[in-house]
Subunit: 331 residues, 2 copies
């Protein structure tokens, strides 16, 4: 691993999985080996591995793990899918490996595809990033959310490599701080200039004319084009519309789920209240306090400027046509 | 102090100031004695005492402190005003004590007035809180932001006392977490039901129909009715408008500053980057990361439903007339 380059976020290693333990970032870069489905489920639940595309690979590799261990594939599949109810890629990855003659080969293939898909998203998406553009992003839709490269941050990476000198406003993204911990770490390693802000500061920066576009990933896009992503994304979309700032969603085409009609059909994961009531392991709220902790929110299609995908740039109107395209087939 | 009741946030004690050290809440309720202007300035800068009305009392008491210590009043005034450039009440409190024949009596009088003003805001404002209303608030505009009772939370307190059974969504309010630390603590002591949320979750709750009104305080209201308040307030106002939810600002009439034309004329304090990159001494962002940390933002008058003041409820259109009213005189 050369400076700036990362090991894969998640990779198959003969008979086990190797993954970056994202709970320990940015303090230390630790690659852990996972040898059981139960251990993988715990890694997924605790966000040691997270991000829609990475969870797709994790799901497939979890089934591969069960197959090399001689465990029940259907029990493994059920356990894996139950860990994060909102992530469509996780379930899709599980099902794909489950349906394959060779789950290991399928999982390895899926991971390779993911890298290629992300580079393709970057290739297409770079056109929305003007020279010197100030991009605002939320959560982490980077290499750490995928097998590598990244979706929203992949587009930023492509713009950087093309000499477009992008700058990134990084929402810290409470409660788990994927922005200040992970996105900041990735951008720092890649030499892309950025500043971290609290999530509440986005509006002030937009009003001051300091944001040229918003660029986020998604955990699921519905058939109607509604975007399910980290809580806080919807507020950014409303603010972007209020200020006439483009709001782009960078996703693998496979994240668009033709079986989900609209955002109202998506189960929203409620996570542990402790994530809100504590900060970096230190309780901050009084003992009697309780919290609500929805992990995701829904941004309606009408607030989306475009979807940056590996099949090109789609607008809300053209998204449904593309999803209904029979050529999609087994993609 | 009976259960649920608080000592005054700040009080004059013969020849010194006693104030609740809000840096130590909610872990412990500690009242500290402040005997020098330099120590008071440090308390203000580090947010041991904060909130627009409380800073008004702090400013006046700081001048009183200089007078009983035989120190230079003008030097004390300059030092105090320089600590928080956005807070209009701080400077107003300083100037009022400075102009008085007896700074101590003036400071004590200002603190007594503050309590009466807050109760009056509650008396008028309670009418906007329907039975069982779910109020969303940001930062802490409670007793801890004032000498006692509170502005936005004073209205909630009045609604609670009137049997209207309000419920409060508490924005945690990064970076300093005045919501989860202070507002949650106050509501818990007052027996008013609440849940803490991350700042980014407000949009999802509004979209789900779980917010009936937004109720915030302000550090300054301009002649045009623009509201300068804790960063994140503006985003809430845009979201409230998008969802057709009322957005109310509870303020002492004296927080309306006729000498400031619009929000563009207000200096916005930029605070230490470390507030964003770390919490309670624990760094979360990588070593190379930097941050932007504007403490406030500006909500334009057109997004405000009404101002709940000690002179009654004003709408943006009537605010300017009220400010220009010559009866205002020495208030």
């Amino acid at each position: 691993v050369t400076p700036g380059e990362l090991p894969p976020t998640i990779a198959w290693a003969g008979d086990r999985i190797r993954l970056i333990d994202q709970r320990r970032l940015p303090d230390e870069l630790v690659v852990v080996e996972v040898t059981t489905v139960a251990a993988l489920c715990e890694c997924i639940r605790s966000l040691a591995v997270r991000g829609a595309p990475a969870l797709g690979a994790a799901g497939a590799m979890g089934v591969a793990l069960a197959s090399v261990r001689g465990a029940s594939l259907t029990e493994a599949a059920e356990a894996l899918i139950g860990t994060r109810p909102t992530a469509v890629n996780l379930a899709a990855g599980v099902r794909r490996a489950l349906a394959a003659a060779d789950p290991v080969a399928e999982a390895v293939g899926l991971a390779e595809e993911d890298l290629a898909v992300n580079r393709s998203i970057g290739h297409h998406g770079v056109t929305v990033v003007g020279h010197g553009a100030r991009v605002l992003t939320h959560c982490n839709a980077g290499a750490l959310a995928c097998v590598g490269y990244g979706t929203a941050l992949g587009v930023v990476r492509a713009a950087h490599d093309a000499g477009r000198s992008p700058f990134v406003w990084v929402d810290e993204t409470r409660p788990v701080l994927q922005g200040s911990r992970l996105t900041a770490w990735e951008l720092d390693r890649a030499g892309i200039p950025f500043r971290v802000i609290v999530d509440g500061a986005a509006g002030a920066l937009m009003a001051a004319g300091e944001v040229d576009l918003v660029l986020v990933g998604a955990d699921r896009v519905t058939r109607s084009g509604d975007v399910v992503n980290k809580v806080g994304t919807y507020g950014l979309a409303v603010l972007a519309r209020h200020h006439g700032i483009p709001f782009h969603v960078a996703v693998p085409f496979s994240t668009i789920d033709p079986s989900t009609g609209t955002g109202a059909d998506v189960p929203i994961e409620e996570r542990d209240e402790a994530e809100v009531l504590a900060w970096a392991g230190r309780r901050v709220a009084p003992a009697g306090a309780r919290a609500r902790n929805p992990a995701f929110d829904v941004t309606p299609a009408e607030l989306v400027t475009s979807y940056l995908t590996d099949r090109g740039i789609l607008e809300p109107g053209s998204l449904r046509l593309a999803v209904d395209d029979p050529v999609r087939g087994g993609s």
